[in-house]
Structure formats: structure tokens, C-alpha cells
């Protein structure tokens, strides 16, 4: 097998070429809608699917908090949003107001989305 002549090539150039190759793999992206105009991204998709949000809110309202970690395993931002809603400790007064709990969680999640 042919041996590469490392000494003949400055290591700086080799390192640079490695990153250059990585950069070629980066896909071109346009700025998200709203970012250039207002400095903020417009939501591109529903932040939380309604059915899922309803399931979480129902679990919170029913006091089935023990199930939440399992339910939320798939989505970290949503888990954080629900955790924040729980931390507010206001949920008890809304039980069993499911719609209100959904609003709390959705609002909390959207606040998180605003960097």
C-alpha cells in the first residue's frame, strides 16, 4: 500500500482540509421566516401536536404525574414545558379544567421557544 508522505505536507494545511471537507457537507439554508425582518423566527410548525398536549394536560390534571416522565421520553422541550407548568404549582386550581391546563403547557412551551 502506498504510504502517505506526511512530512512533505504541513500539518496546518491537512487540518484545514479536514474542516473544509466538513464545510462542503453543510447544506445551504435560508434564514427561517421572520428572522431577518424582525430578529425572531416565526413558528414553522405547530409547536405541540394537539393530541399529545391533551394527553399531557390530562395526566397533569389527573395527578398522574408519575406517568409523565415516561410519556415525555421523546421530547425534551416539551418535558421542560410541562415541568415548568408543574413548577408553577398553579395546576391544582385548574383541575379538572383540561383546556386551561393545555393553555398553560402550550404557553410555557412557546415561551421557551422565544430565545
Amino acid at each position: 500500500m502506498r504510504r502517505a508522505n506526511a512530512k512533505g505536507r504541513p500539518v496546518d494545511d491537512l487540518a484545514s482540509r479536514y474542516f473544509e471537507s466538513d464545510m462542503r457537507r453543510v447544506r445551504a439554508h435560508e434564514p427561517p421566516e421572520g428572522l431577518v425582518e424582525s430578529g425572531r423566527r416565526s413558528p414553522e410548525r405547530p409547536l405541540i401536536p394537539d393530541g399529545l398536549l391533551r394527553a399531557f394536560a390530562a395526566a397533569v390534571c389527573a395527578g398522574s404525574i408519575a406517568f409523565l416522565p415516561g410519556l415525555m421520553r421523546g421530547d425534551t422541550p416539551l418535558r421542560e414545558a410541562v415541568a415548568r407548568a408543574l413548577r408553577e404549582k398553579t395546576y391544582q386550581q385548574y383541575v379538572p379544567n383540561l383546556e386551561r391546563m393545555m393553555t398553560i403547557i402550550r404557553d410555557s412551551f412557546e415561551r421557551k421557544e422565544t430565545i
Binding site: A6, D13, L14, A15, S16, Y18, D22, R25, V36, T76
Partner: protein
């Protein structure tokens, strides 16, 4: 390689008309986004979707704070410093979170390799493949430093600001990087 406009010209464009500002921000996005993506990947070996998300978050942060930018520092220095802090912050949070898969992270179809992709062509070169192996196993800080120094060609002082380490430390790390890479390549050739 494209170049980010000077800090002063950025500030002038931003304080001009709304149209000039938007054009400036679009230009910055085009120039900066790919650099940030590679910078992020240098720090933390995330998958492509995570890198894109993180790069967008950082760009948003940069745009949000752009009016606080002072041209006494290079724009790249300022932007990479924001990116590094964001990466560190995310990395810390990630360590405290269980390993999860996002609900939105639907795996796409995997396409067969035809052996003629730029990546394969790159790996076909023996030395480059060895460099890639070395880089993959490198300490993230050192890899990020190598990106800033050898690819972005930033000065020691600028890197020192971005990495939050003294200039002397940065110089020593660059020296150590060169020595390690050379030793790795020579070891392979022995």
C-alpha cells in the same frame, strides 16, 4: 473561502435603511451559517439535524444581539464567542438530560452509497483519512481550536477571546495540536 464583511461596515449597514439592514443580515447568514455548523460539530459530535437546530439558535441569538456588537473586535470573534458559549450551555444541559429522541426527529430513508460522493472521494485519500481519524478522536476543545486557527485563520488573540483562555495557553495548545497530528501521521507511516 467567503469573508464576513468588516465589523465597521456591518455596523453601518445595520444603522441604515431597513432594506440595507435586511440585506446585511442575509449576507451574514450566508457567510456565517456554514462556519457555525462546522464549529458546532467540532465541539460536539452531534447529528446533522441537531447541528442545524443549534446553528439556527445561535444565528437567532446573534441577530437578536447584533445591535450590541462593537466593531473594536472582529465580527467573527464576537459571533464565535456567542456560539461557543451557547454550545457549552447546551452541552451542560444535555449531560443532565436523559438520552432522548425528539418527537420531530423522524428518520429519513437511508440512501445507498454509490462510492462517488465527495465524502468518499475525500476518504479515498489515505492521509486525509488518517487526519479525519485523528480529528474524530481529538479532545473537543482542541478540535475547535484547530478549526479557528487553521481553517478560519484567526489570530491567537481572537481565539483567546473566543475560547476564554490566555493567549499563551492558546499558543501552547496550537503547538501541541501540531505535534500530536504529526506524531499520529508519522506513527502511521512508521
Amino acid at each position: 473561502m467567503e469573508h464576513i464583511p468588516s465589523g465597521l461596515s456591518i455596523v453601518r449597514s445595520l444603522s441604515g435603511s431597513q432594506r440595507a439592514r435586511e440585506e446585511c443580515l442575509r449576507g451574514l447568514w450566508r457567510d456565517l451559517y456554514p462556519r457555525l455548523a462546522v464549529f458546532i460539530r467540532s465541539f460536539d459530535r452531534r447529528n446533522e439535524a441537531e447541528v442545524e437546530d443549534l446553528a439556527q439558535e445561535i444565528m437567532e441569538k446573534i441577530f437578536k444581539n447584533i445591535d450590541s456588537y462593537k466593531p473594536k473586535y472582529g465580527f467573527s470573534t464576537w459571533a464565535f464567542a456567542i456560539a461557543r458559549h451557547h454550545c457549552i450551555d447546551r452541552s451542560r444541559r444535555r449531560r443532565t438530560e436523559p438520552d432522548t429522541v425528539s418527537l420531530w426527529d423522524v428518520p429519513g430513508p437511508s440512501l445507498p452509497s454509490h462510492g462517488s460522493t465527495p465524502e468518499n472521494a475525500f476518504l479515498a485519500n489515505e492521509t486525509d483519512a488518517r487526519v479525519a481519524f485523528f480529528m474524530e478522536t481529538l479532545d473537543p476543545d482542541l478540535r475547535q481550536l484547530a478549526f479557528l486557527r487553521f481553517h478560519q485563520r484567526l489570530g491567537y488573540r481572537e481565539i483567546s477571546r473566543i475560547m476564554g483562555a490566555p493567549v499563551g495557553t492558546i499558543k501552547f495548545r496550537v503547538f501541541r495540536f501540531r505535534k500530536m497530528l504529526l506524531a499520529h501521521l508519522e506513527g502511521e507511516n512508521a
